[in-house]
Symmetry: C2
Subunit: 202 residues, 2 copies
């Protein structure tokens, strides 16, 4: 969302609607399955009509990643920032992130889909994806640093190590929940996070 443009032009609204479908498709079929042809069928436009919005498949994949990042910002990061600084913010981040993995996409988190597709394919999509991942990891790192400033975490905490372990538990949760359909996915995640926060506080 562009804060400078509170009202969308018709062209912007069309693009937003197209990207919404593109994101659902990439969640279900993968970003490699997200072709101009498949998307045209889904949104009821001609392929040439779509080429007016996206110059190539790669351009479309990048736009879908940007749309995923906008949605993550809205659903997870901004919500976390409404919580008080420090540990309450990290706890809100966890809650919103769980909601993201569980409820936001029928086919699962598009970032996780993209990660396994692009980690070995150099190019603009991979570069953009790695930038978004690093931004999210830095977000956790910064939130942990703030928890140190607030006196919730110990002064010698390694915030990057904290971010690595937070990240790993979220990835494990996502697999236990979606692929394994494990009844105890939520309990395991909460227990891992409680331990992580206890160690960071001690």
């Amino acid at each position: 969302m562009n804060p400078k443009a509170p009202t969308l032009s018709k062209g912007d609204a069309t693009r937003t609607a197209i990207l919404h479908q593109a994101l659902e498709l990439s969640s279900e079929l993968g970003f490699e399955g997200l072709t101009i042809g498949v998307l045209a069928g889904k949104v009821g436009m001609s392929k040439s009509g779509l080429y007016a919005h996206f110059s190539s498949k790669e351009d479309l994949q990048c736009a879908a990643l940007d749309a995923a990042a906008d949605r993550f910002l809205e659903v997870v990061a901004r919500q976390a920032l409404t919580a008080p600084r420090g540990l309450p913010r990290l706890e809100r981040l966890l809650t919103q992130w769980m909601h993201w993995e569980r409820d936001e996409f029928a086919g699962g988190c598009p970032f996780i889909v993209a990660a396994s597709e692009f980690d070995d394919r150099p190019g603009v999509v991979r570069t953009k994806l790695a930038e978004y991942f690093n931004t999210m990891i830095v977000f956790i790192d910064k939130a942990a640093q703030i928890a140190v400033e607030e006196g919730h975490f110990r002064p010698d905490l390694d915030p990057r190590q904290y971010a690595f372990e937070f990240w790993g538990s979220m990835l494990a949760y996502q697999q236990f929940l979606r692929l394994l359909e494990a009844d105890d996915a939520e309990r395991l995640l909460h227990s891992a996070m409680a331990q992580l926060n206890a160690r960071a506080s001690a």
Copy 2:
């Protein structure tokens, strides 16, 4: 590998060679990219020749997963079992698993590729994949239980919680290493595992 058949027939050898290529392809292109047509081109056989070995794309995907599991068993699990029971075995498991994520496949771990592709697609491939994941998780769980028996870990350890956190750290390591090309991926993983084992021992 079938222990009852120490010598391979010509048909078995051909199938093994085909599956080796299938595994490389699925690592690079994903299991959805692993079609009879693409594989035929790679191994220099006709499509009809390949249909003599695999009745469908799904059959081929399942065979490639079985081949990945055979290789994981050989490279990771069996090597871990040569280490002494308890903590040394868990440490060997970690070392071999890191080698697997880093060196075994140009395109990255085929299980991680498959996980994001099939977690929302019910069918025989997803069922087989979930079985292999559960087998690996139970392997870690059992190894942690043995560490309790050996007196290396505390008696009230929750071995499934241990397996969840081990799993999460391996997933984070894989992403930091491959997608993010983070210089400190190995250090972060070793530190997370040292903490996990220290907590399990205390």
